[in-house]
């Protein structure tokens, strides 16, 4: 058998095997669908669609009336651009307010009084606000006015005066001291 004939046989066998596999795996159906002819006139319809499609938009294209080659038009356009840019910049600059500087309270330097300790290595204490000085609350005692009543002699309690007799024991110490 010639090599070409052998190749043909191999190809045929491969195709047959492929066809059998295709039947088993359903690929013959997919192949049929894949080989369907395109409808007639599809190219013309696509071309017509492409012709009707909007052309590419130009970025910043000038209208035909303004597309003159005079340098004055260009100068005016350039001046307008410069004016707009400068004006915009100035507008921003004018509106931005500079922040106010923070208030700094300068403390007077401590001058040591003559004869007192120096202020070297003194730790600065914050200048706190003096609080309100509240005086000690005066507690007013309610005054109770007693009604003035005359004391009757009968009410006065008088201690009975002891009468000491000269011969009694109460008079002895005095006698001893006298001795």
């Amino acid at each position: 058998m010639k090599p070409s004939e052998e190749n043909t046989m191999i190809n045929l066998a491969a195709r047959r095997a492929d066809r059998d596999t295709g039947r088993e795996t359903g690929e013959d159906t997919l192949r049929l669908i894949a080989q369907l002819p395109a409808p007639e006139g599809i190219e013309d319809r696509v071309r017509a669609e492409l012709r009707a499609a909007p052309r590419r938009a130009r970025v910043l294209s000038w209208p035909a009336a303004l597309r003159s080659d005079s340098p004055w038009m260009r100068s005016a356009a350039a001046a307008a651009i410069v004016f707009v840019v400068a004006g915009g910049g100035w507008g921003v600059y004018a509106r931005v307010q500079q922040p106010q500087l923070a208030r700094v309270i300068v403390m007077p330097p401590r001058v040591a009084a003559p004869g007192s300790f120096s202020s070297a290595a003194a730790i600065r204490t914050p200048n706190t606000l003096n609080g309100p000085v509240v005086a000690n609350p005066v507690t007013v005692k309610p005054v109770t006015v007693k009604p003035v009543t005359e004391t009757t002699p009968a009410q006065v309690v008088q201690k009975p005066v002891k009468r000491v007799q000269p011969g009694t024991a109460a008079a002895q110490p005095v006698a001893a001291a006298a001795k």
Partner: protein, 200 residues
């Protein structure tokens, strides 16, 4: 004219000859691009239609997809020169379009209908009974294909196009060639199993 004005005008000045030359070359370029596009339409519209139809299975939708693909090409015609294989590039564009459309529209494909399949698919030299039987078989196969996982299904469908090699399928799907082979192997096994199961 003052000195500053003269400097300013000189700075702004663009020579007319340069402008005209640019415009002329641009017109020529546009004409060349349009001619290339027309040639692409004539050459590949049929192939793109078949690819679109294999997924959408609806003639009108497939044609719409082809038109959309060429409109995309028109939008990106500047990059036409950079494309190495225009056929595969176009197939990839239309493939993405049809997958996107199928994802969005969950409508039933027209060719899932047996009678529609019998009308669409070629049946030369077959009796009416055979045509009906073949259409039923094809409808059944397509239903099984739809049951496959997306990755395997896509490879199987693209492999049906004899004009696409495994390398080209890999380019369209943006995967490696070995992945194409392994997915195709899995898809065939799954399909065989599904069809056998249905027969039993």
């Amino acid at each position: 004219m003052s000195t500053s004005q003269a400097v300013f005008a000189g700075w702004m000045e663009i020579p007319n000859s340069a402008v005209n030359q640019d415009a002329r070359s641009q017109t020529e370029q546009t004409a060349a691009e349009e001619a290339t596009l027309v040639a692409l339409v004539s050459q590949y519209a049929g192939t793109l239609y078949r690819v679109a139809f294999s997924v959408l299975r609806n003639p009108a939708d497939a044609e719409d997809a082809v038109q959309e693909a060429f409109l995309r090409v028109l939008r990106h015609r500047d990059t036409l020169d950079e494309v190495r294989d225009r056929r595969v590039w176009l197939i990839r564009i239309v493939w993405n379009i049809v997958l996107d459309r199928k994802r969005r529209a969950k409508t039933r494909p027209e060719t899932d209908d047996v009678t529609e399949l019998a009308r669409v698919l070629p049946h030369s030299g077959l009796s009416a009974e055979e045509i009906a039987s073949a259409a039923q078989h094809h409808a059944h196969v397509l239903a099984c294909v739809d049951q496959l996982p997306a990755k395997e299904r896509q490879v199987l469908m693209l492999s049906a196009f004899e004009e696409l090699s495994s390398v080209e399928i890999a380019t369209v799907l943006d995967i490696s060639e070995s992945s194409v082979r392994s997915r195709l192997f899995r898809a065939r096994n799954l399909m065989a199993g599904l069809l056998k199961h249905e027969r039993q």
